[in-house]
């Protein structure tokens, strides 16, 4: 028997996605309905017009009602945008005996998490998630399970992902206008990783790049932990904007050029190839553009984005810990040859991240673009299971008619 449905909402820069899933008996999440509606009122992943943003949410709710025959009143919110930051906090305990006990570990974890909350919950910021990192005993770092080890002091590192309170509030407000209550925000980069990464990749070290319309998040896993994450305020909209400026066309035409003819790599054999500008004015002379020039514009933007990511990884010392390479998700992952360019610029094996950790998206045309929303449902399902087993998932409420 499946659980009752759970919903997640992602208000993206180019589209708003609502997804509904059920937790199956085998513990996997099954997506039973998705609705993707073009967004208005959102720029660079942040809402600039609550009223306009709510229109797409209302449409998505209606579409889900028709397609999946579910009325959704409550959803978890997928949050992305350059306002998201991450910081490491450290809890410290002096040991009563000279051996680390379970109680010591629980105490230092609680202390680290409490400090992270204290440091990053302000009148302008709120903590989205706190992730356990490693421990150090007497300044010996990199310890995953310190119980039974000898020492006098125990430290625990946690990574807090925090966001602009206003940005989260505005998204909740837009949902509220559409009569949808938000239960909990979840960071898009983390959510996407839950949908696409394997345990082995998380252990070996992997970079997940979730490339949205307004921003790109990067999340690094190593030794089964999230160790680093951040968001760059560049996404697919920038590619479209570059194309529109380069070829003097509107953004709809630029978007179609990008999707239908664009590539992240430049093929010299395309030197003479030309593409017709879509949706030209009636009566105007048909206009064509050079495909190589189009690809040059896209290649410059995407190459720069990967270089910025690499700089962020280098600054934290993570670029040489990624044995499993990079995984690309989000709408940007559907750009032709983007994995090839990423592999070259990042200097590591790269694949497109299909949401293989959920069921029900097998027939989607661009499943990688649904990784974050699918992962949010996985996260929600895991919290539900924890709740059922007396764990810590009590903060999730589901109110479906």
């Amino acid at each position: 028997m499946s659980s009752s449905p759970i919903a997640a909402l992602e208000i993206g820069t180019t589209r708003t996605v609502l997804a509904v899933g059920e937790l199956q008996e085998n513990g996997r999440m099954r997506i039973i309905g998705t609705a993707a509606i073009p967004t208005s009122g959102v720029r660079k992943s942040q809402i600039v017009d609550v009223s306009q943003a709510s229109v797409a949410i209302e449409s998505a709710l209606k579409a889900i009602e028709q397609n999946a025959r579910v009325n959704v009143n409550v959803a978890m919110l997928v949050v992305n945008g350059p306002h998201i930051q991450s910081s490491v906090s450290v809890g410290l305990c002096q040991l009563e005996s000279n051996t680390v006990t379970e109680n010591d570990v629980n105490e230092v974890r609680a202390k680290a998490q409490s400090l992270a909350e204290e440091e990053h919950s302000t009148d302008k910021r709120e903590v989205l998630q706190i992730f356990d990192l490693d421990y150090s005993v007497n300044d010996r770092p990199g310890i995953l399970n310190p119980v039974g080890m000898s020492g006098q002091s125990l430290q625990h590192y946690v990574l807090a992902v925090h966001a602009s309170k206003d940005a989260v509030y505005d998204a909740s407000a837009a949902a509220g206008v559409a009569k949808l209550d938000i239960t909990e925000p979840v960071f898009a980069g983390y959510a996407a990783s839950l949908a696409v990464l394997s345990p082995q990749e998380m252990k070996d070290g992997v970079l997940l790049l979730d490339m949205g319309g307004g921003s790109t998040s990067y999340t690094v896993f190593y030794d089964n932990h999230i160790v680093h994450t951040g968001v760059i305020g560049v996404g697919g909209d920038h590619v479209t904007n570059d194309v529109a400026i380069a070829f003097n066309c509107n953004t709809n035409q630029a978007e179609r050029l990008k999707r239908e003819h664009g590539s992240a790599t430049v093929d010299e054999s395309d030197a003479d190839k030309r593409a017709e500008l879509p949706n030209q004015m009636p009566g105007a002379d048909p206009r064509t553009i050079s495909v190589r020039a189009l690809d040059t514009v896209i290649n410059a933007r995407m190459g720069e984005l990967f270089k910025i990511v690499l700089q962020s990884l280098d600054a934290g010392g993570y670029s040489h810990r990624l044995g499993a390479g990079a995984v690309l998700t989000g709408g940007g992952a559907s750009l032709k040859n983007v994995a090839q360019l990423a592999a070259r610029e990042l200097g590591m094996q790269t694949r497109i991240g299909l949401p293989v950790n959920v069921d029900g998206l097998e027939n989607e045309e661009h499943p990688a673009s649904l990784a974050a929303i699918a992962g949010a449902l996985v996260y929600s399902g895991e919290s539900e299971r924890a709740e059922m087993h007396g764990g810590i998932g009590g903060f999730l409420r589901r109110i479906f008619k």
Partner: protein, 369 residues
């Protein structure tokens, strides 16, 4: 008869924690003149107090004067509500130069709280923070990294000095010597900066000019070089061009550059021109150049010394409250016409670049349309 009112300097040096206190004390010893300086520490055994420097002990209620035990969070919590004690001592200060060593608890933790406090009071902050030597271990580096991103976001200008790189130029492999050289080299550099700001020569670079350059925020790089002899200017340029401190990975754009030329009475105009032109060509072709000179025969007789501070542009997309306005107006001159649909949007700035401007335009890529 008009009266000359004594006006205290608007510039103040704050050394934070053990390492920061040691560096600040080194500056105070080397600087021949009155300077406004304080050492902030959570450890009552701070050597700054013993050396006669003005020491402010913070967080004693929670830490009992024993230091923060390597815990940044504890240090922050302990001093958060005590920083009002600085206000009276800092009357008239408009720019604070803060020195801290990262890797322990006090340096990073107290620096964060202090910078936030100063910003609330309208004081611009220039942070010099040392990143630990690699031999100090992974745990130490992790503690440093845990606070670095916060400091980058909070300080107006932040210079993170990799001690490995700082000492690499000296060739030492002795641990004690490396620790001493790290402290002394940075102290010497900051002393030179102080001389440049407080004892100007023919070309004046005053603290207010520094403050104005700082208000746009962002990371910075800092290095000094000294040479003697006939080709001393050429030697300095070669040394700075090769300096690992100025050529760190990812430092691609410079929005402004401060060049200080310090010498005795033998300073030649051609030397100033050579240094300024070569450094601008190599590090900051399109950047604003702020040049200052110091003529001090007693200190620099026969020597030529150059101080360089390269200001990158902020990676932050939003302006900080409290100081100035319109701070993130970008380091390059791409007008609205280059930003297309983003012309009304808040800029996305990275290393001095407005990322909303198409990459192919910024990289001057010619399109065969």
């Amino acid at each position: 008869m008009s009266e000359m009112n004594f006006k205290p300097s608007p510039l103040m040096l704050l050394g934070i924690g053990g390492a920061g206190g040691a560096i600040a004390s080194g500056v105070a010893r080397a600087y021949s003149g009155a300077m406004r300086m304080l050492v902030l520490d959570t450890d009552a055994r701070s050597t700054a107090g013993a050396n006669g420097q003005a020491l402010v002990l913070l967080g004693a209620n929670r830490l009992s004067g024993h230091g923060a035990g390597g815990n940044v969070s504890d240090a922050r919590a302990a001093v958060r509500n005590e920083l009002g004690v600085l206000d009276e001592r800092m009357t008239g200060v408009r720019t604070a130069v803060i020195v801290a060593g990262l890797g322990g608890g006090t340096g990073g933790g107290v620096a964060v709280e202090t910078i936030q406090h100063l910003r609330r009071n309208g004081v611009a902050t220039l942070l010099f923070a040392t990143m630990p030597f690699s031999f100090e271990g992974e745990a130490c580096r992790k503690r440093a990294l845990s606070v670095r991103s916060i400091l980058e976001a909070e300080a107006d200008i932040s210079v993170f000095v990799e001690l490995d790189k700082l000492v690499a130029t000296t060739g030492t492999d002795n641990m004690t010597e490396a620790l001493r050289l790290g402290t002394d080299t940075l102290a010497a550099g900051i002393t030179l900066l102080w001389r440049l700001l407080e004892k100007p020569g023919y070309i004046r670079l005053d603290p207010e000019r520094l403050r104005k350059l700082m208000l746009d925020g962002g990371p910075a790089r800092f290095a000094t070089a000294t040479a003697t002899g006939e080709n001393r200017a050429e030697q300095i340029v070669s040394s700075l061009k090769a300096s690992p401190l100025l050529n760190s990975a990812g430092a691609t754009h410079t929005r402004a550059m401060i060049v200080g030329v310090l010498a005795g009475n033998d300073l030649r105009l051609a030397e100033v021109g050579l240094v300024a032109n070569e450094l601008q060509f190599n590090f900051a072709a399109n950047a604003e150049l702020a040049l200052g000179t110091v003529n001090d025969e007693d200190t620099f007789s026969g020597r030529l010394t150059v101080v360089v501070l390269l200001f990158g542009a902020s990676n932050r997309a939003t302006a900080k409250p409290g100081l100035g306005s319109g701070r993130f107006h970008g380091g390059i001159s791409n007008g609205p016409q280059g930003r297309g649909r983003f012309h009304n949007a808040e800029k996305t700035i990275w290393n001095g670049m407005d990322l909303d401007v198409p990459t192919y335009l910024r990289q001057n890529i010619t399109l065969d349309r």
